[in-house]
């Protein structure tokens, strides 16, 4: 009697059997992988662009020194994409769990089941990676015509052995994107192969917290979210960054090299972000608990109890959004400083750079907001039967709709406010709240002028409002779905 393992053909076939929700999940995974591949290929392209390439319409692309920033930004863009894909992996989870349990009953070992899950994600991501590559190549073809516009050109002159960087605004043909540069083929291949492999690896790791038994799938979830550590990380990190100068003096690091200071800054930033991410679960649970205790209206009670029951589900997607808000608030504060520094921004390069940063953050924010709503939709679909029972019992759909909105927004609002404040405080603390510059007046007298960097209140308000309203709007768009999926006819289906 053959007792071998299923061959790869069987594993792949088992991975691709699925109903409608499985197809949706596969499609979304492919989209996420395509986006990640596109971002990484763009990063590789920008990294490969040198001073001889171009010129481009964007100052950010023309100045080679800024390429590092662009590359980092594009790579970081993968984070909200990862959050989005992670949320999508939960879609159709009940049907898939049922299927996996049936496999186990028929004799699949736990390892077989993990292989199937990895194959499903890997295959979807592989498809997506190829789509991303295709999109990239297509973009290169479509955008390879230069446009005539005004842009800033950088030239490096070597005078007496030293380099002079000069820039001037000229008008002429320029490319919109670096389509004249091709990253090394091995890098392209690596990206296209690595993204699906990583996706499969993530799927395997996610299965670690899951026990598939012949009776069903049990998720080993930590019930009580950790409260102390995230609070310490977040508050400590923010305070340390807000009083960066004083902190450096206190720890004797103020005299050390700039590199060390940068590392310290990055570590604190990471700690703050980690505290924010880890703390959202506790925040969700706490908010839910408070709401449920004092709720007079059924929608509040429903939202509150659901948050308490599944705090991690709500927090995972929101975490990426919060990191984006944190960085966006920091960017606003940094922008205020930079605008002051380059008050004579004749060429408009500063404005362009800031605009580019804003664009990147908006894209990241949109992706993260979509991830949050995907999570909400998934929660809605998996609770379909009990919700349909509620509707059949006479609970007005309005109550359920309000509960859904509250459930999505309640963890987001306080956390986003905290993230905004933390981002602004941290940036101002690290980079200074005032700017000293030398000025020579008409009489030739040199003096030092100190200017206070304004707090970009309007910018911060926009960041916070955009995050909250963006999520709220997307959540509102899912209400028609609520209506359709909680039709009492759902109760009759198997």
């Amino acid at each position: 009697m053959s007792a071998g393992t299923p061959d790869w053909r069987t594993t792949l076939w088992l991975a691709t059997t699925g109903g409608r929700s499985d197809r949706v999940r596969t499609a979304l995974t492919a989209v996420g992988a395509a986006a990640a591949v596109l971002a990484l290929l763009a990063a590789a392209t920008v990294a490969a662009a040198g001073p001889e390439d171009g010129p481009y319409t964007s100052a950010v692309l023309n100045e080679v020194g800024l390429h590092v920033g662009v590359v980092i930004a594009l790579v970081l863009l993968c984070v909200p994409v990862l959050a989005f894909t992670g949320q999508c992996s939960r879609i159709g989870a009940p049907a898939r769990d049922h299927r996996l349990a049936a496999f186990r009953l028929s004799g699949a070992t736990p390892a077989d089941v993990v292989r199937v899950a990895a194959a499903e994600t890997g295959a979807a991501a592989g498809l997506g990676a190829l789509l991303g590559l295709g999109g990239y190549l297509l973009g290169r073809v479509l955008l390879d015509e230069p446009v005539t516009t005004s842009f800033v050109r950088y030239t490096v002159e070597v005078v007496d052995g030293s380099e002079n960087l000069s820039r001037e605004r000229v008008t002429g043909p320029a490319l919109r994107l670096p389509v004249d540069v091709l990253p090394a083929p091995w890098l392209v291949a690596l990206i296209v192969v690595a993204v699906p492999l990583l996706a499969a690896l993530v799927a395997v790791t996610a299965m670690r917290r899951v026990r598939t038994t012949p009776f069903g799938v049990v998720r080993l979830a930590v019930q009580r979210p950790v409260r102390v550590l995230p609070a310490v990380l977040f508050v400590g990190g923010t305070v340390a960054m807000a009083s960066f100068g004083a902190m450096l003096r206190a720890t004797g690091l103020d005299e050390s090299q700039g590199g060390v200071q940068t590392v310290v800054f990055l570590v604190l930033l990471l700690a703050t972000a980690a505290g924010l991410v880890l703390g959202t679960a506790a925040l969700s649970a706490g908010a839910g608990h408070l709401l449920a205790r004092r709720a007079g209206r059924p929608s509040l009670l429903l939202a509150g109890r659901r948050l308490v029951a599944a705090p991690f589900q709500a927090s995972r997607a929101g975490a990426a959004l919060l990191v984006v808000v944190l960085v966006a608030a920091g960017a606003q504060a940094f922008g205020a400083l930079v605008s002051l520094m380059a008050a004579d921004d004749v060429l408009g390069t500063t404005a362009e750079a800031l605009a580019a940063v804003d664009l990147a953050l908006v894209v990241a924010g949109v992706v993260a907001a979509v991830a949050v709503v995907v999570g909400a939709v998934e929660g809605l679909l998996s609770r379909r039967r009990s919700t349909a029972a509620l509707v059949a019992a006479g609970v007005p759909r309005g109550v359920l709709g309000r509960a859904l909105l509250l459930e999505v927004l309640l963890p987001v609002v306080p956390a986003a406010a905290l993230a905004t404040a933390a981002g602004a405080l941290a940036t101002r603390g690290v980079f200074g709240t005032s700017l000293e510059s030398g000025r020579v007046d008409a009489d030739g007298v040199a003096s030092i002028v100190r200017q206070a960097v304004p707090v970009p209140w309007s910018g911060l308000a926009v960041v916070l409002a955009a995050a909250v309203l963006g999520v709220a709007l997307l959540a509102l768009l899912t209400l028609p779905l609520l209506r359709r999926t909680t039709d009492p006819a759902e109760l009759a289906a198997t």
Binding site: A3, D7, G107, P110
Partner: protein
């Protein structure tokens, strides 16, 4: 025709002093059972008596907290989850009350599943599966999905799946619980007939005496212990065929 006083060497499934608790609730409190090759055994008792738990322990789906389960002399309760899972695609067949067919696969694919998991080629597996569906009179359902068939038909497909690998033991837990009398009778008849033709040992958990009447031997559980085991009747009334 005589199956009385079979030698101990004929015992294929041997459980000794099984104890199993779920959280604090004791499900089995020291159950010992010896099953001989080819026997059709009914395990009955009121709900909460531990019958399903006993079946799960014997089939290697669940590990007992104490005690031993031996299959053909080898202990299976100490084996890893992976090894015990593999038993289910070669030597053990499992049939539950409901919920074990994959709704997205066709009947033939469902029946072929244990074979595919054991490494059989797809075409061979599907051919064998269709043969078993034919044997159970549901050949026309081969391309249909479980949602497109009645409960009785689905259970016959599930029975085919349990027997497709030609297992030495078939474990059934309330196989006809969700079916009406005639549909249930059909399933049981085909199950016991197929099993007897191939000499498969059958263990059926049921709370229905009419189902137990299809078996040669009845083991009654109450409160996690064996209350009676009419093994003694095997000599006369247990004669099959």
């Amino acid at each position: 025709m005589t199956a009385s006083a079979a030698p101990a060497a004929d015992v294929v499934l041997d459980a000794r002093e099984l104890v199993r608790n779920y959280d604090r609730t004791p499900a089995l409190r020291g159950v010992s059972l010896a099953v001989r090759a080819g026997e059709v055994v009914a395990i009955t008792g009121p709900s909460g008596s531990g019958k399903s738990t006993l079946l799960h322990c014997l089939a290697g789906i669940v590990r007992p907290d104490e005690g031993e389960v031996r299959w053909q002399g080898r202990r299976i309760d100490t084996q890893s989850e992976a090894q015990r899972s593999r038993l289910r695609r070669t030597e053990f067949g499992v049939l539950f009350q409901f919920g074990q067919l994959v709704p997205e696969l066709t009947a033939a694919e469902n029946v072929a599943l244990p074979l595919l998991l054991a490494g059989t080629r797809r075409r061979t597996a599907l051919g064998t599966a269709e043969g078993w569906l034919d044997r159970f009179g549901v050949a026309e359902l081969a391309g249909k999905r479980p949602t497109e068939m009645s409960g009785g038909q689905a259970q016959r497909v599930a029975t085919a799946r349990a027997l497709v690998t030609g297992p030495a033991v078939l474990f059934a837990d309330e196989p006809t619980g969700a079916l009406d009398t005639l549909a249930g009778e059909q399933v049981l008849v085909q199950l016991t007939r197929a099993a007897r033709e191939s000499g498969t040992t059958v263990l059926v958990v049921t709370h229905d005496a009419k189902v137990a009447a299809h078996a040669d031997r009845e083991v009654v559980l109450r409160d996690g212990l064996i209350e009676s085991d009419d093994q003694a009747l095997l000599g006369a009334a247990g004669a099959r065929r």
